[in-house]
């Protein structure tokens, strides 16, 4: 059945419009969304080598001259791309990532002691974030056993195999890049731009989303929603 265009001005609008306020998500401008982030905040940022990183939010963090940020992300991209821009702008005090090899600036700052870099195996990093979002204290992983990664960590034997206890990783803010968002905050992601995004959207106190396209409620099929609306706190408006 065809959906009439005035659907959102009818009873249904009142009903869902109300629920949307209950869900607590607010659309907001880029500037005011980023203004909530204080210096020294712990951020999780989506993206893999800049693909799936909310570039507009990164640019605004730099424009508002944020300092001493802790960034939890897969990597620091390249100079001039995504998180690489935050590194160049000296906005970052500490990085928790799995790979910084393609950003020589991060490596220089790390070796010179200007920036703390904690390297975590990629599967462990995403699983520590997932654990935080799923209410787990941590995970047991065989990755890193017998390597420098096990230093200072508890080792447990389960069914004859050794595992490291890797603890949950939380953040103050998750900065998420979606492909589609509706006005309730339901999200989908595109291709390899998904990566860390849906996982960090569960592990931070405040979730800020930028989406390539914002669509009316109902346009995203329930089966295709990858991050359900109640997880999203702020959706940045597109002008």
């Amino acid at each position: 059945m065809a959906v009439p265009h005035d659907r959102y001005r009818t009873r249904e609008f009142a009903r869902y419009g109300n629920w949307w306020r209950v869900a607590g998500m607010l659309t907001t401008t880029l500037e005011s969304a980023v203004a909530q982030i204080s210096d020294g905040a712990i951020l999780m940022i989506g993206g893999f080598m800049g693909v799936g990183t909310p570039e507009r939010i990164v640019d605004e963090l730099i424009r508002q001259r944020k300092r001493d940020l802790t960034v939890i992300a897969n990597d620091t991209a390249l100079p001039g791309v995504g998180i690489g821009k935050l590194v160049t702008a000296k906005a970052v005090r500490k990085v928790v990532a799995s790979h910084v090899g393609l950003n020589p600036e991060t490596q220089q700052k790390m070796l010179a002691g200007e920036m703390d870099v904690e390297l975590v195996p990629q599967g462990t990093l995403i699983e520590r974030i997932r654990a935080a979002g799923h209410g787990l204290g941590g995970v047991l992983t065989p990755t890193g056993v017998g390597t420098v990664v096990e230093e200072g960590k508890r080792k447990l034997e389960v069914a004859g195999r050794e595992y490291l206890l890797e603890t949950a990783l939380f953040a103050d803010f998750a900065l998420v890049q979606a492909f589609l968002a509706d006005y309730l905050g339901n999200l989908t992601y595109a291709l390899t731009a998904r990566n860390f995004n849906p996982v960090i959207a569960m592990a931070a106190r405040t979730v800020i989303v930028d989406a390539e396209h914002v669509v009316p409620v109902g346009m995203i099929s329930p089966d295709h929603v990858q991050t359900p609306a109640p997880l999203v706190d702020y959706l940045i408006t597109r002008t």
């Binding site: 893999f48 080598m49 990597d75 393609l102 195996p121 990629q122 599967g123 990755t143 056993v145 860390f196």
Partner: protein, 216 residues
Amino acid sequence: MDPQTIIAKRIAQELADGMLVNLGIGIPTLVANHVPPGMRIFFQSENGLIGTGPIPQEGLAQARLTDAGGKPVSAIPGASTFDSAMSFGLIRGGHVDMTVLGGLQVDAHGRLANWMIPGKMVPGMGGAMDLVTGARRVVVAMQHSAKGKPKIVRSCTLPLTSARAVDLVVTELAVIAFANGRATLVETAPGVEVEQVLAQTEAELAVPTHVRQMRL
């Protein structure tokens, strides 16, 4: 044939129809160019893709479809995408049949070091530790020596990637297997003598009476 092609062609012979395979960057990437005709291999890119295809032609690249190095790739029909938790669940959970990785050093028991040179190169382990720990079969693609120094050593001086031994090391000179935790010379490259391999290998190699020649 140049060393990289020898290595990639030989490793391609380890592929079997229907395998899920993860290729590291560098020489491992070249293995995809030598898949036997008619064989269907699912290549995984750990940033969230199964079914990576060739590098797209100019103008056809998609900004949101990239490999683990952030470079544009294509996806074959039947490809699938997923988040990083799923991607590493596939890897750690033993669903990836084979991974091919580069190496800096491999020790006499097959333990690999490939992620850092302290004080010089600290790129991070990325997905390498999970791949070596979790993939069903681990194959190392590397040159036999670096600047005249053997890379197959008695014990690694560089930090290990995993305590788990790799299954196979393929170089431009030889194929070395690590069944039963012992380095064993399995094949030599065409025109390469066993003595030549032994001279360029620091780790003690078990040499069976008959060492096959690589068929390329």
